[in-house]
Point group: C2
Amino acid sequence: MVKSFDPVFDNLRKRGHRITPQREVILQIFRQLPNGVHLSADELYVKMNELGYNVSLATAYRTLKLLSSFGLLRELTFAEGHKHYELKQDSLPHQHIICVNCNSTLEFEDHFLEEIGQKIGLKHHFQVIDSQFKIFGICPNCQLNK
Amino acid sequence: MVKSFDPVFDNLRKRGHRITPQREVILQIFRQLPNGVHLSADELYVKMNELGYNVSLATAYRTLKLLSSFGLLRELTFAEGHKHYELKQDSLPHQHIICVNCNSTLEFEDHFLEEIGQKIGLKHHFQVIDSQFKIFGICPNCQLNK
DNA sequence: TTTCGTGCAAACCATTTGCAGCAGC
DNA sequence: GCTGCTGCAAATGGTTTGCACGAAA
């Protein structure tokens, strides 16, 4: 990975932030994540340690917040009381269906909702950062096991 | 308020729950709330004490959870790290625009998104409970004060 | 060399819970 | 009278923070 050519690192530098090994590792992990997978701070922390990178949980939190603050990551809250993060790939806008019983999530692609969010935001003079459509319900599996 | 004729109390009883003064107060407060206002557990607690009802914070949390569990209240998470609740009035579906800078929220009515949520949920065989569309951005006010 | 970033542990804060007494029904 | 509900205080769990040291620029 050639740091100087990576737009994310350029972006960090431009804002006066530094490129550290910890930030490189975190970014790399998110980039290698299968499509649609999102991590909590703790899951990220565990994964880093499994891979042999000794990054502290505090740094995980700080980095997730930093990368979200300028739109590289998307911050998601479902129902379990902690946040999840995923790479924000403008190419693949998608939303979530959440089972309030087992907390599982399902994704569905949708370019349309993304546009609606932009439109409504603009109408109210907001500078839109992210639009999230969440459907809460009971998944097929949990409907059976009741 | 005639308890026996209130569908909410009927609903509670039907599920084996009891009608207590605390639950009556909480329901009453939510019903008297101006349209579109939502409360956190703590805000509800403070309001109850201001009105002279000494209900504990624990009971506030327990009641909010209970009333949300069968769809009387809608549980909202914005960005400040605590949940908000509002009466779920099927007559007035609405969604939120949230300023990630000052945490203020703006509402917009929308019947359309409600239907989309139902449709997408059904397609994936979910029993839909609530659909929430959230737009995160910077509000006009915060754009100026930068 | 000047900041900024990190690790650690302690602090924070929203929320949950164990328990004893009280109150619906 | 049985059992669920409440209040209290303590516990929990995710997240943040103060501080001293190490490292990017």
